[in-house]
């Protein structure tokens, strides 16, 4: 229907964004009726999201004419931003930003580097940056889930952890069940995405490839490739972040520093 009113693609895009944002805001209003207040957080997220993605679109436009190596800098910047975003899900955790940034850099960064070297990801900026950003964004979400779950598990089990410590257990052994549970829980979305691929959803990348004229079978295979890479990057990120944060919640004297109310 909107196409009837807008001939210019830019104006059409803005109108579509407005309608989609209104759909998101209507959910907020429904939640408000049930006493759940998400107004300011959602509004800020919507405005931030549109500004950021338009800015990135503009940067991509400039980058199309830039040398290939500039894509690496852009991805490095994304890793730092992803580290800062997911660290917010780990309030009170020591060195959450450093742990997140390192984990995403090692998890997503190494998969991007390896896959680019092997030729799975094309080195052109229009391929490297969007695919790389997908890996980084998913690694960020997984990292946030892992840290958040680990934090809540530790806070809910301080008695068990300190009992193990009091019996002479090594600090890292006293939290090993929670490291494992956080790792497993953080990978549930990535596993479900792989499991339901093509049945529950047809991801945007495949749709985009089809629209741009790629052969459907290749588009489908490449979508699997991207999801498998996302799983690898997310899994590696979660593994690194849970292992790094595990040692940071204890003092040098093997005392649990992450305590409720501290």
């Amino acid at each position: 229907m909107l196409r009837l009113f807008f001939n210019n693609q830019l104006y059409l895009g803005l109108a579509q964004a407005l309608v989609a944002a209104l759909a998101a805001l209507s959910v907020v209003l429904l939640a408000r009726k049930r006493g759940i207040h998400l107004e300011s957080e959602t509004l800020i997220a919507i405005v931030r999201g549109i500004v950021q993605i338009v800015a990135v679109g503009s940067v991509l436009l400039l980058l199309l004419r830039s040398p290939r190596w500039t894509g690496g800098f852009l991805l490095a910047g994304m890793i730092v931003a992803a580290g800062a975003t997911s660290a917010r899900r780990a309030k009170g955790m020591p060195e959450a930003f450093r742990v997140s940034a390192w984990s995403i850099a090692l998890g997503a960064g190494s998969v991007i580097a390896l896959m680019t070297w092997l030729g799975v990801i094309d080195t052109t900026i229009t391929s490297l940056v969007p695919v790389g950003s997908m890996l980084i964004a998913n690694a960020m979400n997984t990292n946030g889930l892992a840290l958040n779950r680990f934090r809540s598990d530790v806070l809910a089990h301080t008695g068990e952890i300190e009992t193990a410590l009091a019996l002479g257990a090594e600090a890292r052994n006293s939290v090993s069940p929670y490291v494992q549970a956080s790792f497993e829980a953080s990978l549930i979305p990535a596993i479900d995405s792989l499991r339901s691929l093509g049945i529950v959803w047809i991801p945007g990348l495949m749709a985009g490839m089809l629209l741009s004229g790629a052969r459907p079978v290749y588009a489908a295979i490449y979508q699997f490739v991207v999801l498998a890479m996302i799983f690898a990057a997310s899994g590696l990120t979660s593994l690194v972040s849970t292992l790094l944060i595990r040692d940071r919640i204890f003092t040098a004297a093997q005392q649990l520093s992450l305590q409720p109310g501290r």
């Binding site: 008695g159 068990e160 410590l165 002479g168 257990a169 052994n173 004297a253 005392q255």
Partner: protein, 230 residues
């Protein structure tokens, strides 16, 4: 040499204190415990009794003073070795999922040691739970779980047993069972013990000396009757 061993305290605190931000939990606490002695720490809720016990086990770091174990500053003892020497039993047992036997083996296993079946039975017999080795901890009563917790700490062969309100979460019957187990361990085996309790009658039954703590500071310390009836 022998006279020195008898008179030297097994555990001594010197101006021990802990403050978190502006809140003082324990302040300037100096006392000693001799081998085979049972010291009860009594006082109202929030007096700092459990905080003091956590400092003794070094689950928290003192912000002032220190603790000497057999004359050695405990900051010079590796924390894991120290915690075996000063075995802590919490108010809640926090048993690990599995069998009673697996729980008893946990402490020694952390140091690569195994416990013989005979020792397991002996430990369980000590706390009145003979024949419980293969039972799943999920099926134990509160009193039984707390007695397993005592036996689990004893499996580490501690120098001093630190008991933090071991019966406060139990009903009267279970409380008497646990108390009887503690009495058995402490009196029959001559184990040194520091008992935190808000129950002065329990302190009188189990301890030889008492220390009254209020607002983190020692108000009185001495023979049990003098402290409780002053």
């Amino acid at each position: 040499m022998i006279a020195s061993a008898i008179s030297d305290p097994i555990l001594r605190t010197e101006h021990l204190g802990r403050a978190v931000k502006d809140k003082v939990l324990v302040e300037d606490v100096t006392f000693e415990v001799r081998s085979g002695e049972v010291l009860a720490i009594v006082g109202p809720s929030g007096a700092g009794k459990s905080s003091l016990l956590r400092l003794l086990n070094r689950l928290d770091e003192p912000t002032s003073g220190t603790v000497y174990v057999e004359g050695k500053d405990y900051r010079q003892i590796p924390p894991r070795a120290l915690r075996r020497k000063l075995g802590l039993v919490n108010q809640r047992p926090y048993l690990f999922p599995g069998t009673v036997e697996q729980n008893l083996r946990f402490g020694p296993l952390q140091h690569g040691e195994s416990v013989s079946q005979e020792s397991i039975e002996k430990l369980l017999s000590c706390v009145g739970l003979k024949g419980y080795a293969s039972r799943d901890v999920a099926n134990l009563s509160g009193g039984e779980a707390q007695r397993v917790s005592v036996a689990r700490t004893l499996a580490n062969s501690p120098l001093v047993l630190l008991l933090d309100e071991p019966t406060s979460a139990l009903d009267d019957t279970s409380k008497l069972e646990v108390e009887s187990s503690i009495q058995n361990v402490v009196h029959d085996q001559g184990l040194t013990c520091v008992l935190v309790t808000h129950d002065t009658a329990q302190a009188a039954r189990l301890a030889t000396r008492a220390m009254l703590l209020e607002a983190g500071r020692i108000v009185r310390i001495g023979p049990i009757n003098e402290v409780l009836h002053a």
